[in-house]
């Protein structure tokens, strides 16, 4: 008990020596959002259903790992018409590829509260290596991880056929994540 209290107190101060490991995700506080550009207009969307397996100890970052699995059909693009469109063949082809997955291969400390995770991201059956910088902050007993990275949608075949026209929908899509995970006891 004493050790746990010390660990939590240390985590609250975000001391790098804190031996606390984060694991269980709080889905209500976590979010996975994206911003695409249509005709130069930023349009926000999000995924409502995703699972995250997380293991992060700020004192032993090199051992950290993160795995993601999100349900394509839970996409919310901001309009019903677009939601119906993007699960189709030209976009995500959600019938054949119902999930997108990410598995970290390395986590690096960048100094301060900044870190970087690298690993393969698979969407629509196509895999690309991605690197995402993120920040970590202790918030009471929780760890808050926030980061953003940019993918090129066409590398994953998202938006093929007439939608391949990047002057309408830009190739770059920004992904933003905010994960709130509880400390593992």
């Amino acid at each position: 008990m004493k050790i746990l209290v010390t660990a939590l107190a240390a985590a609250a101060l975000a001391l790098p020596a804190a031996a606390v490991e984060y694991g269980t995700l709080d889905p209500a506080k976590s979010s996975l959002a994206f911003t695409s550009k249509q005709m130069g207009v930023p349009v926000d969307g999000k995924f409502n259903k995703f699972k995250v397996a997380l293991s992060f100890d700020p004192a032993a970052v090199q051992k950290a790992s993160a795995g993601f699995e999100l349900e394509i059909a839970s996409i919310d693009t901001g309009s019903k018409e677009a939601n119906d469109e993007v699960v189709g063949k030209d976009w995500f082809n959600a019938k054949q590829f119902p999930t997108a997955v990410f598995k970290s291969t390395s986590v690096k400390a960048l100094g301060g509260n900044r870190f970087e995770v690298t690993g393969p991201l698979t969407i629509k059956g196509r895999t690309q290596n991605v690197t995402a910088p993120f920040t970590y902050k202790a918030d009471g007993a929780n760890g808050v991880f926030e980061g953003a990275f940019t993918i090129k949608r066409l590398q994953f075949g998202i938006g093929e056929g007439p939608w391949g026209d990047t002057s309408t929908v830009a190739d770059d899509v920004q992904i933003k994540f905010r994960l709130v995970a509880a400390a593992r006891k």
């Binding site: 249509q38 005709m39 130069g40 207009v41 930023p42 349009v43 926000d44 901001g78 309009s79 018409e81 677009a82 469109e85 007439p162 939608w163 026209d165 309408t168 929908v169």
Partner: protein, 180 residues
């Protein structure tokens, strides 16, 4: 001593026809685009429509300022009091609608969560937060007001033609100097 001018200024004429042209484009394009299936083409056309409409809004603000500081020529004395009132009423209503129609479009876009980026370059602020019910409301308002505007434009143009061919009082030529 103030004298009422006998002519519109060149600026007033230019603003009138530029705005008219943009409305003649924005209105049919709006009707056409709403029934298109979702495609890159549709997204493009909607953007062009918004750009044209916001341009109307900007030009109308300039026009109202100009109108407030530059007296228009008086209506001919051959017109009855009722005719003059009807003409002025229609003009005021048109000014109102030239603001209300694009404003409803802008509010709808904000409520839908699709911000307006003028000509793909200048991001305009969202007027209201995202809301499905408000989006629905302003979509209806935009459509109804646009049709009301079309109706008054038709009456307005019919009156202008009547001035030219029936009354022959030179009122149309004041706004269309080439007719002289």
């Amino acid at each position: 001593m103030t004298t009422t001018p006998t002519q519109y200024t060149r600026t007033a004429i230019a603003l009138h026809w530029l705005i008219a042209l943009l409305i003649f484009i924005a209105f049919p394009v709006g009707l056409y685009m709403v029934d298109l299936p979702l495609s890159p083409q549709k997204l493009k056309i909607i953007s062009w429509h918004k750009w044209a409409g916001i341009t109307v809004l900007a030009l109308v603000l300039v026009r109202i300022l100009w109108r407030a500081t530059h007296r228009p020529p008086a209506l001919p004395d051959s017109m009855s009091r009722i005719e003059k009132l009807a003409a002025q009423g229609a003009h005021h209503l048109l000014y109102l609608l030239m603001i209300a129609v694009p404003m409803a479009g802008w509010l709808m876009s904000s409520a839908k969560g699709f911000p307006v980026v003028w000509f793909g370059v200048l991001p305009l602020p969202d007027l209201i937060g995202k809301s499905e019910s408000l989006a629905e409301f302003f979509e209806q308002a935009h459509e109804i007001l646009a049709w009301l505007m079309a109706l008054i434009v038709v009456v307005h143009a019919a009156a202008a033609v009547k001035h030219h061919f029936a009354a022959r009082d030179g009122v149309l030529a004041r706004m269309l100097p080439r007719l002289k």
